[in-house]
Symmetry: C2
Subunit: 155 residues, 2 copies
């Protein structure tokens, strides 16, 4: 059932994670195949769902999303109802890029993207803390980041 990836497949995936818009002929050249079998492999990887989709990655600073904030959230209670309502609520805010419902010290970790610190505090006060499930929020503002979001390790 799990598709077996040979070295060429992994090579293709590595290249496409770096450049999702490389032409098929260049991709074929890079992995040492002729264009047609290379394209066939890519199609198979797509149909198997191993390649989920292709996206453009924008520069956050240049589209008014220069600040990434981690918010740790504590719920009033920890039942499924409250948790689901929270997950549903954050889905409506485009600022919330990721929501992790955790089993650790806090109940949820949010990665939130806004233009700057001021708009973040406004978002937290106006929207985040007003979600009924939320008891309290603690904020981590990153200073420097390593971003490898788009390249999964292929070993």
């Amino acid at each position: 059932m799990p598709i077996i990836l040979d070295p060429i497949d992994r090579h293709i995936l590595r290249v496409l994670q770096r450049d999702g818009r490389i032409s098929n002929v260049d991709l074929a050249k890079e992995v040492g195949l002729s264009p047609s079998p290379c394209l066939r492999r890519v199609r198979l990887l797509e149909e198997a769902g191993i390649i989920d989709r292709y996206v453009a990655v924008l520069d956050p600073a240049k589209v008014g999303a220069g600040l990434t904030v981690f918010a740790r959230v504590w719920f009033k209670t920890q039942d499924a109802e409250v948790t689901l309502r929270f997950a549903e609520a954050v889905r409506r805010f485009p600022e919330v890029m990721e929501c992790y419902l955790t089993t650790g010290e806090c109940d949820a970790v949010l990665r939130i993207v806004t233009a700057d610190l001021h708009s973040y505090w406004r978002f937290q006060a106006d929207h985040l803390t007003r979600i009924p499930s939320v008891l309290s929020v603690k904020t981590d503002v990153p200073m420097e980041t390593l971003k490898r979001s788009f390249e999964l390790p292929l070993r």
Copy 2:
């Protein structure tokens, strides 16, 4: 200096964040332009660095990266030396997808991707806690996630 994005540009960016490999003619159709000015706008957005790059998004579960873990890290001391050494050290591990050096309760937040929980604990024991800068690590294992990593909010 900051490039002004008109509604058509934002429309283009939204579409490309969903589908980075859409053909230019389809993109033009969707935003209500003819192919050539549409392609010209895309090229400008690329040259301005607003579109940073295009990538293929893989399904983590299907490439042996099924588990995402948040690790909060505390340093032994908080001077620049220790911090930089830590940032340098995590860079060598492909499992570390993101590293946020924070100013909040802990000193760093890592997003770590491994195949499963067992490989995570092995990674933490063998590599993470052996970085000289590291005093202690606390782990948040997410149960359910909202993933919007690739679509920045355009308002």
